[in-house]
Amino acid sequence: MKINSRTLFTLSALVLLCLFLLTGCRQEHRFIKKTAFKDANSIVITFAGPVDEGWAKDISKYTVYEKPDPDIKLKITEAHLSQDKKTVTLRFKENLNQDQPHMLAMSQITSEGRSLGSAFVSVKKLYLGYLFSVLIGAMIINNFVFAKYLGLCVFFGTSQKKSTAIGMGITFTIVMVFSSMMAWFLYQFVLKPYRLDFLEIVVFIGLVSLSVQAVDTILRKVNPMLFKAFGVYLVLVIANCIIIAVPLTLAANTYNAMESLMLAFGAGMGFLIALFLMSSVRERLELANIPRSYRGLPIAFVVAGLFALAFLGFSGMSIF
């Protein structure tokens, strides 16, 4: 199991570059941070700063139409300004066709007495983008190890060597995706309709053991080489909090099948990233001159703390 670390680095740098490009493209006016659909008949506009109430409440300043037919202007019934004066909710007379992108023109935006000119922005539902944001959210922004502090036993146990770290991460991701999808399915279609959601812990942990056992049985026969490489980590998967935390998160929120898949995959990849980062540092630590009382776990904890501080920088970031 040998993966060139330079290739990995280049790959991750490329992914990050794409991310920044994508986020950069969305900005259409410097004063408007975000536009989105809300409910069936509303559009929410988020501004970078507070806007004047007199301007915001005047519905004649807004023009909205569906992108393919600019002649049909949609009828606005009310413009509601939030408490902090940064978000305006436009309510429409009829329900919006959210599959179509909408164009929104605002004339003479005034903020604190100053005019900021007119803005012309689009409002669209980006489902793929949303899925992607769920994935990145679980992988980096809410990384289960560094931002939610879960799965630490296995994290510290298997991050001594890069090869171990990658093996554990891959095994974990596979089992995670399998068991979470089964858990989501059972929860949505069996436990919830029959009001048996108090059994969630028993069912979810049972499903995890089952998937581990199934992967173990099948892999042992189908690919003994792979089993030799990854078999040892299978047992450790059950002892990892993340594997049970993801189904519980799925049960507590209303995600659909695709979003659940993305969340589970993101959680697994996030664990892999955390393990890889940590093992890279710990391989160096082996050679460093550390005070005797700090050797082994204590210094690993301090390093993990520094990583967590770094990951704190991602918090609050939204992609789409």
Binding site: Y194, L210, A214, T217, I218, R220
Partner: protein
């Protein structure tokens, strides 16, 4: 006892039982189909070594 509670308990038993039987049979079939001839000596050795992780 409250009849709704009894219903809930019986429902839980039924659902858990069904899941258990379904996956139990599934795993048993898988174990049968993908059986690997284990060397009995390996298990004997492991038995002696057990506990040392």
């Amino acid at each position: 006892m409250d009849p709704t509670l009894v219903k809930l308990a019986l429902g839980g038993l039924a659902v858990l039982g069904c899941i258990g039987i379904f996956f139990g049979i599934g795993l048993a079939l898988a174990a049968y189909k993908f059986a690997v001839e284990a060397n009995p000596k390996v298990e004997e050795v492991l038995e002696v070594l057990a506990g040392a992780q």
